[in-house]
């Protein structure tokens, strides 16, 4: 069945439909990972976005039970060069096509994804729609369509829930979290309480945590102003660790600025240097916004990590408080595990901090 990928600048690509048979609108972005489509599709940070893979064969190993990064995927569409005819892997439970149908996500295949990628590289990420028919007004309607700004609210949990263990008490503020963050913390025995994105500082402190984790999530950090006073309050008191959107919110809360990148970083071959040691890790990334380096001058934040190719700010630390953040995903999934030591640093920070604080009782 013919289907079309229409871009806001009027470019039209013809392909074949798969997944859910419905039209969709979103921001078209590309991901360069050669594996890990299941993790990416289920990553809430793609909420509102149409996800295109640059690797041409997607679906080769099917969809399995274990590699979901959220319960309900929220990306708006999937664009591939070729969706697998037949998936083959011992863990595979269904095809990508079936999974997208089940989750009401439309897909389009037989697209020259390299051509589209180069187009976005030159023109920047832009609004796009996947439709079965291109009408005279399709482009115009796309242009005037406002993409939602409430993506964090959609992706975040509505209710608090625990993930009990015996280690440090960590409150996870969910802006659209990837399960991998919970997995990494759980691996380190953290006793987790996950709270909605709009939780206040006092609600958090009422749980007397040893540390707070600000998760990843979709969209523009400036659309989540409610988080900023919470962060400003928490960072003064207990260790705070932000990832991705959490990192951007941490920067905004401390007076820095963020900007929309031309086409973002989505993939997992981004080399990131830890400035203090020179150590380089290959990192998993998924972000369309970044922290403006120049805006940091007037703040108490210092740059700890940077992408070695384009110099993007990849990590920040507060000069006075036990608070830090990284733009990339040390939780990987998909992608390399090079940076998972960052989680150990968070645990160590909480351990160091508890000495100075009453009421804490965990053994790191």
């Amino acid at each position: 069945m013919k289907r079309y990928l229409v871009l806001a600048d009027g470019t039209i690509y013809q392909g074949t439909g798969f997944g859910a048979a419905k039209a969709t609108v979103g921001e078209l972005v590309f991901n360069t990972g050669m594996s890990g489509y299941q993790e990416s599709i289920t990553d809430q940070s793609y909420n509102g976005e149409i996800l295109m893979f640059t690797y041409p064969l997607i679906g080769n190993y099917g969809i399995n039970r274990d590699d979901h990064e959220s319960i309900k995927p929220t990306c708006k569409g999937v664009v591939v060069h070729e969706v697998a005819r037949r998936a083959s892997n011992w863990r595979s439970e269904m095809s990508l096509d079936d999974y997208l149908k089940q989750n009401q996500i439309p897909g389009i295949t037989d697209i020259d994804t390299r051509a589209v990628t180069k187009h976005i590289r030159e023109k920047g990420a832009m609004k796009a729609t996947i439709v079965d028919e291109v009408l005279p007004d399709t482009v115009e309607r796309l242009k005037v369509t406002e993409l939602g700004t409430a993506v964090v609210a959609e992706s975040s949990t509505n209710n608090a829930y625990p993930n009990p263990s015996t280690g440090p008490n960590v409150v996870v503020v969910d802006f659209g979290l990837k399960h991998s963050i919970l997995r990494e913390l759980a691996k380190r025995n953290c006793n987790l309480t996950v709270l909605p994105y709009n939780t206040t500082a006092s609600e958090i402190m009422a749980l007397n945590p040893d540390g707070v984790m600000l998760t990843n999530g979709p969209g523009d950090p400036k659309d989540v102003p409610s988080a900023l006073p919470m962060i400003r309050e928490i960072e003064k008191q207990i260790p705070l660790f932000g990832i991705c959107l959490g990192h951007q919110l941490f920067a905004l809360a401390n007076g820095a600025n963020t900007f929309k990148m031309k086409f973002g970083h989505r993939g997992f071959n981004h080399p990131v240097r830890e400035i203090a040691t020179g150590r380089i890790d290959f990192t998993s990334q998924n972000h369309g916004y970044a922290v403006d380096r120049d805006s940091l001058a007037a703040t108490d934040l210092m740059v700890t990590h940077e992408e070695i190719n384009d110099g993007t700010v990849e990590g920040l630390r507060h000069r006075e408080y036990a608070a830090f953040s990284v733009q990339y995903h040390p939780d990987a999934a998909p992608g390399p595990h090079d940076a998972d030591h960052i989680f150990d640093e968070f645990i160590e920070l909480m351990a160091a901090h508890q000495v100075a604080r009453k009421g804490s009782k965990f053994n790191a």
């Binding site: 360069t32 299941q38 190993y61 060069h81 037949r86 011992w90 590289r121």
Partner: protein, 1058 residues
Amino acid sequence: MPKRTDIHKILVIGSGPIIIGQAAEFDYSGTQACLALKELDYEVVLVNSNPATIMTDKEVADQVYLEPITLEFVSQILRKERPDAILPTLGGQQGLNMAMELSKSGILDELNIELLGTKLSAIDQAEDREQFKDLMEQLGEPVPASGIAHTVAEALAFADDSGYPVIVRPAFTMGGTGGGIAETEAELRTIAENGLALSPVTQVLIEQSIAGYKEIEFEVMRDAADNAMVVCNMENFDPVGIHTGDSIVYAPVQTLADREVQMLRDAALKIIRALKIEGGCNVQLALDPNSFKYYIIEVNPRVSRSSALASKATGYPIAKMAAKIAVGLHLDEIKNPVTGTTYAEFEPALDYVVCKIPRWPFDKFTKADRRLGTQMKATGEVMAIGRNIEEATLKAVRSLEIGVHHVEEPALRTVSDDDLSDKLIHAQDDRLFYLAEAIRRGYPITDLAELTKINVFFLDKLLHIVEIERALATHVDDLETLTTAKRNGFADATVADYWHETPAAIRQFRQRHQLEPVYKMVDTCAGEFESTTPYYYGTYEQENESVVSERPSVLVLGSGPIRIGQGVEFDYATVHSVKAIQKAGYEAIIMNSNPETVSTDFSVSDKLYFEPLTLEDVLNVIELERPVGVIVQFGGQTAINLAQPLADHGVKILGTSVTDVDRAEDRDEFDKVIKALRIPQPAGDTASDEATALQIADKLGYPVLVRPSYVLGGRAMEIVKKRADLDHYMHNAVKVSHDHPVLIDRYLVGKECEVDAICDGQTVLIPGIMEHIERAGVHSGDSMAVYPPQSLSAAVQKQIVTYTKQLALTLNCVGMMNIQFVIHDEQVYVIEVNPRASRTVPFLSKVTGISMAQVATRVILGESLHQQGYHDGLAPVSRLVHVKAPVFSFSKLNRVDSLLGPEMKSTGEVMGSDQTMAKALYKAFEAAKLHVPSHGNVLFTVRDDDKPEALKLAQRFHALGYQLLATAGTAKYLQAHALPVVVVDKIDTGEHDLLHQMEAGEIQVVVNTVSDEEQAADDGALIRNTSIAHGIPLFTALDTVAAILQVRESQSFVTQAL
């Protein structure tokens, strides 16, 4: 850290001659490394014995030593050059082994020379099976249960415990030499014995078999700051059990979920860090298809064969980066040369699929054991890039040049089902074709997966191809079906088969409907960053990225996969042609399909199209690029064969015209030329059927030399002594037809020699004459050759020059030609004219200092020889004597007869140069690892014709103090001529028979000229095989024996009793 300033001069060790398992990829990596070091202003000294390489060009290093890579010669070079360091990790296993030997000899400590890249301890840890196992245990990385055996008994004891099958891997050999899978005790006995003999440390690893696991490779890099990264991962189509060099390989991995990929990536990085390698490393892993269980199979602590493939597959120049890292640079300090904007610390992202298929020599070695296992047998490989697996696979298949343009071998249509399933289970080189046939016959792919352990994912791709075939058959002239077929890699010729059309008609149909390929860039980053790499592959999609420049361009066709008869020599010539084109101000475009070579390094040409060398694919590029013309002279028979069809499509062939090429290659046309010139040639004729062949031979008189027309490397060429043999040959060796006639010539016994000449239409430059050491009858590619000639009279040389000039001018040669002569009773006969560059171009270029391919290219582009400063006739000869010697890979190929004959069998070559013939010969023998000790036992077993001559040689051995041994018949003859000879027991006569003596190391030299057909009872082939298996110098041509005697005699004093 910036580059090291405490070292200034670096010795790079090359990989020596091309053998199976160690091939052209090391010319590519070595060349890259030398150039990278020079770029950093180090003084580079290179030692390599292989003249057929770009690496040994003067410009590549500051000092190039074309000398044997042996302790003796490398030590001498070290003493003379006093380098600060040695870089041994880019010359394959040869480079590493040499470094180990140098270190053990103490010379590195004595001269205070450092090893760069990989420490000796790491080499040991990776290559010594015991230490490797220990290291893996320490790291917590699983290895298959295994035991080290130093004797056959130990090997058997392990297998008794672990159960069969087991895998045998000899220590310190490359390409899996001597290894294998043993299903039974008897098999284990044979394989272990062989493996122990081949291992320089008499050690084999016996391993629990994990056959059937997915075989995965990671190419990783690390720098001194402990930054480590993966350049490329690859998944073998063939599961564990078949050597990765003999496996079809895809990049990147296809059936692994990210969790599996990352698990294996972690393991690979952990290993390179533990080994503290500064440079590149290759890690091979086996992954259970049904769990997360995996094993580490092997680690190569150096740039490997797979590194070349990974470099070409990703665009990331591993060897160049490895060399820079070895001298202290960090990955985040080196710019990624592909993007120019990012750093070398970058894991490439692919947005295409790469397929590698090995190229095996079984088309030439028809009697060889084609079964694949843990010992590599391929001589070369092809790579193809596509946007899906079907496309990459089919492009790779048609790049193989094995007479098919699709995964279909018509001969298989008639094989029985039993035979079919046998061939599926016991993989041969052609299993892919058997699989396709099985699918066509309706075997369910799940059953095939069960039988072969090949992942059903890959089999489904073959099924898809078969489905498209069916659709084509039922949808003739349907554009949509054709589009699907083209997007999945089908050749026009395949579509033509189903539509009962000609490929040209399909092409026209396609073009009428604007169904044409586009070219996409290989940029390491999946389009994320802007790149300027001029490296492209074709596919059927929307956007074309290859922008045609304003400058006039010239297209050079490469020589495709390396096979016996068409080796790295042709890549050498191709690269030089490109250089000359660039110097002449044109844009040089290369097309080639071989990932191992320098020519497919995107920095060599202005534009590289990594594409199959078929008419369709070449025309596609030409139609886009519109070059001034195409040069076909340097790409061996691959390119020459395309000349006529390209010309038929209106393409301008530069240099010698297609008509004149045909005049040289077509027997009847050539006869007219040579008769008109009154140049003598052995009487002969052409036959299109058996009866005519016999008639011609009867008229000429036996022996006759027979061969199919249009072949390279003497494929299926034989000297036939009697009528019955000719009858047998015509029925079995060739498929004779009107289009493919057979040439029959009188066989003249005599000295053979050859020339390469360059002609511009007026002037004929002959850089040199090469005299063959072995008489006519041994293929020129298998002969030792000496320059300048040592025994040709002035009159003969004059005749050669005259005939060469006459032929070049009459054939209107523009560019290169090669002529082979035989000298019979002081008369020169022409036996063959090749209107193209030959395999001797690099050797002759190096010894004469005339860069022949460049001179010829300039001629082709219109600059006369005079304008280039060259004169008519034979160029002045060099002061030194240079000997080229062939190198064989018989130890890798079971059941291939090593007896030299008119069919070429060697895989590579070495060269020795010195002031005297004897010294040059010595070096050539040493470089070829044909080391004859100064005393010991020489075994003679020769056929009747050879006995008088063998007697003279035996007398010379005797005079030097060697003890003579001979089989009964030969012994009787020698004894009758008063030589003391020990008669050896016949084979199979017990503990002390000949083979046991050979195995026990009691025989140092074997001279054997008995062919199978003549005296099967004498077990000629068995003796030869045993010599090869035990590394005993083996001579099957008496002229070679005379040469080695000349060497030994020059090194000995005469001891004569009064």
